[in-house]
């Protein structure tokens, strides 16, 4: 077995192993270290002799490393006997772990990795590494940061969890709902990094988006009664369904109105619509509403034949449950399609007057488009050039500059 085989087994097992060890030891950081040691050992020993049961091998090795670490620590504190007794009891429990218990442990692991005491960057790194089973190198590649940066975020994150005394348990009652929202936003940040790369020379990184979809599917399986989990999954599936049409042969972005809709992934659309149906059982939340907007696009044969009135209504609803300047800007785009550019320009100008999205390239991008449609070409050109200066993604920037040039 080679490195890729070890990584494949780890992808499948990491969440369960780290979750089980965290429950045994009560120490998330220790569990994660022990699990990583087991993977490192597997990378050395599996190519020489493949274990008959790779998953069992990883779990047993990780457990031994955890016990070693606790013994070292216990010796220091002269608590050896006490801890050894606890471990024996845990080992007995381990023989009879039911699937429900493992599910709860994996869910608890997601809640810990996305805990509000952690920095947003640490939440993303820990979730991908611990729950998703990605290596630091893979996470670094996904977020275009150096490997030591990822390692530092993970180390710091584990220290923060320990220092804050975050318990390994499922939050209950109202806290559960609130913390679930935190988990969803971490998954959405990961997805967004893949669907609209904030920097770099590529517009899309489908492999990063895939990790978010996979984690969202796991969460939907573990929390089937939470509509917003299905809403997020629907949003991700429906957005990813357009990936094949979103870049041209040379990698340049293709905007919605110019996309070849025959390239949209029909299977992903069907999965997205199925998830959206589950999300709408008790009225849509912010993710469900965004998914409903994506679904409206997905079911339209063309830009002209899109139900823009419905999209405007959905954006209005979204603006009420999750007010944000970006939602306002998107509403303006929908209003332009439903009722014309003049009304939309008023919405954008109000955003500018209130300085709600300072420094964003999106505002001048939309304003430029609207001015162009109104025939105010010199103003439109200036806006698009401003947008290009503010945009960090090279691919998007060149599209903006091309559009501006066409207006001269």
């Amino acid at each position: 077995m080679g490195t890729a085989d070890v990584e494949a087994v780890w992808r499948i097992e990491s969440a369960r192993i780290v979750a089980a060890l965290t429950r045994f030891t009560g120490d998330f950081g220790l569990a994660e270290d022990a699990a990583q040691e087991a993977v490192a050992e597997a990378l050395v020993s599996w190519p020489l002799a493949s274990p008959a049961n790779p998953a069992g091998w990883l779990m047993a090795t990780a457990r031994r490393r955890a016990i070693d670490a606790i013994r070292r620590r216990a010796a220091l504190r002269d608590r050896y006997a006490l801890v050894a007794a606890d471990l024996a009891a845990d080992a007995a429990v381990d023989e009879g772990i039911g699937p429900d218990r493992i599910d709860d442990d994996v869910l608890a692991l997601m809640f810990v990795s996305c805990h509000p005491v952690l920095s947003p960057e640490a939440r993303v790194a820990l979730t991908l590494r611990v729950v998703g089973g990605l290596s630091s190198e893979e996470i670094a590649r996904a977020f275009l940061v150096p490997v030591p940066t990822v390692q530092a975020r993970i180390t710091r994150g584990k220290k923060t969890i320990a220092a804050a005394g975050v318990p390994f348990e499922l939050p209950q009652g109202a806290e559960r709902r609130e913390r679930l929202g935190g988990v969803l936003s971490v998954l959405y940040v990961i997805f967004t990094e893949g669907s609209t790369a904030t920097s770099g020379d590529r517009l899309l990184r489908p492999d990063v988006a895939y990790e978010a979809i996979r984690l969202a599917r796991t969460l939907a399986a573990l929390q089937p009664d939470e509509p917003e989990v299905h809403g997020l999954l629907a949003l991700c599936e429906l957005t990813a369904a357009r990936f094949p049409a979103r870049t041209g042969p040379d990698g340049s972005p293709v905007l919605l109105d110019e996309q070849d809709r025959r390239r949209w992934d029909l299977s992903a659309i069907r999965r997205g619509l199925a998830a959206l149906a589950k999300a709408s059982t008790r009225g849509l939340g912010p993710y469900g509403l965004q998914a409903a907007i994506a679904a409206t696009h997905a079911s339209a044969p063309s830009v002209e034949a899109t139900d823009w009135d419905r999209i405007v209504v959905l954006y209005e609803a979204l603006g009420r449950v999750a007010p944000s300047p970006v939602v306002e800007l998107n509403r303006a785009v929908a209003v332009a399609m439903a009722s014309g550019p003049a009304q939309a320009l008023a919405i954008v100008d109000e955003l500018i007057a209130l300085d709600r999205l300072p420094g964003s390239h999106l505002v001048p991008t939309v304003r430029g488009e609207l001015l162009a449609r109104l025939g105010r070409r010199p103003e439109a050109r200036a806006e698009l050039e401003l947008a290009a200066r503010l945009c960090a993604n090279q691919r998007e920037r060149s599209v903006l500059l091309r559009k501006a040039a066409r207006l001269s």
Binding site: R11, D103, P206, R214, L215, P249
Partner: protein, 123 residues
């Protein structure tokens, strides 16, 4: 991301072994499916009925010719599939190794190319 189809190929021998303890097989398969759902990788899974119930539509001639199954000389018969959305071919293989299959059965692992891999004509 690439998807993979795990194609179950049974023989008379493996089918007989499976049918001998069908309740046990159904239970372990159900458990395996749940595991893949929770891992976020399963897109679809189906098992097929007795090949004797099938028909074959043959396009060798000018018009399609319909004949009843079974298929004649075939030693291994397609008996069901799992469609997975995984990170790598190695992961697809790792899942394939975990399929509850009766002795003699085989699982073929085939990649499903994404629609983004269809060549695009530069306009």
């Amino acid at each position: 991301m690439p998807k993979y189809l795990l194609i179950m190929r049974g023989t008379d021998e493996s089918n007989a072994a499976m049918m001998a303890d069908i309740d046990e097989m159904m239970a372990t398969t159900r458990q395996f499916i749940e595991e893949m759902v929770k891992a976020g990788v399963l897109l679809a899974a189906e098992g097929l009925d007795d090949p004797g119930q099938g028909v074959v539509v043959d396009f060798s001639g000018e018009a399609p010719v319909v004949t009843d199954g079974p298929y004649g000389e075939t030693k291994e018969l397609f008996g069901g599939f799992f469609l997975l959305d995984v990170a790598s071919k190695q992961e697809a293989v790792e899942w394939a190794k975990r399929v509850p299959a009766a002795p003699g059965a085989k699982i073929e692992v085939r990649r499903v190319p994404g629609s983004d891999e269809v060549p695009q004509v530069d306009k």
